[in-house]
Amino acid sequence: MKFGILINEGPYNHQAADTAYQFCKAALDKGHEIDRVFFYHDGVNNATKLTEPPQDDRHIVNRWSKLAEEHGVDLVVCVAAGLRRGIVDDNLAAGFRISGLGQLVESGIRSDRVVTFGD
């Protein structure tokens, strides 16, 4: 099955980013396809390379980057939501790209299921 993923909450502040990541991992392990992960609202904060959690904590941003590197998952940050929150190309972590909301709708059209992770 092909999944589109929508993440609406920021990392560390909310479980959504963790659950979405675990969902993506599990789906890929089972042979499903992740069409795209779209970061919206405070979810765009998953994409900043300035993130530096304590060493004994999970690194949510690097975890996404690794997922993109290993599985070619398309990580898309909403440009408008990103600009509001200071997420721009200069501080974008590896594997992410910035694009428009059309990418979310497009993924909805293309995927078998869209799963929202948020509040």
């Binding site: 440009v79 694009s99 428009g100 059309g102 979310l104 497009e106 059209i109």
Partner: protein, 135 residues
């Protein structure tokens, strides 16, 4: 159509695909940004010629409340945008009945015409959707 896709070419087999999209709005209009940014997704979806429905439930019904006065809190009143949705061919607006009742609201309190659905009817509406996004 392609100019709305963020500069990325759409795959050929997608052209002409029309899916049923439902956007569920559950949050009050100003305490958080969900309502405003949800509206931005809705407007973009119109450019893709999809079959769009908007659902308002829980505190989301306040998004449609008449007489929003936001000046004192320094927020932009974006409620007139809901009235403009018709111009984007987005005409299916549904409000969950108990959410209205619990807040002492009636359809007369809302700035747009809506269809009021009870929870069973709402479940049936969502059941027939292809894509549901919840904000």
């Amino acid at each position: 159509m392609t100019e709305s896709t963020g500069g990325i070419e759409m795959e050929e087999d997608m052209s002409g695909t029309v899916k049923k999209f439902a956007f569920i709005n559950r949050k009050a209009p100003y305490g958080t940004i969900y309502a405003l940014e949800s509206l931005e997704v809705v407007l973009i979806s119109a450019a893709f010629d999809q079959d769009v429905s908007l659902v308002f439930a829980d505190d989301g019904v306040y998004q449609l409340k008449k007489g929003q006065a936001t000046k004192a809190v320094g927020m932009k009143n974006f409620s007139p945008t809901y009235r403009a949705l018709e111009g984007y061919d987005i005409e299916k607006l549904y409000v969950e009945k108990s959410s209205l009742d619990e807040r002492g609201l009636t359809p007369d309190d809302l700035i747009v015409d809506v269809e009021v659905l009870d929870s069973a009817e709402m479940a049936a509406l969502l059941e027939e959707q292809d894509v549901v996004m919840s904000f």
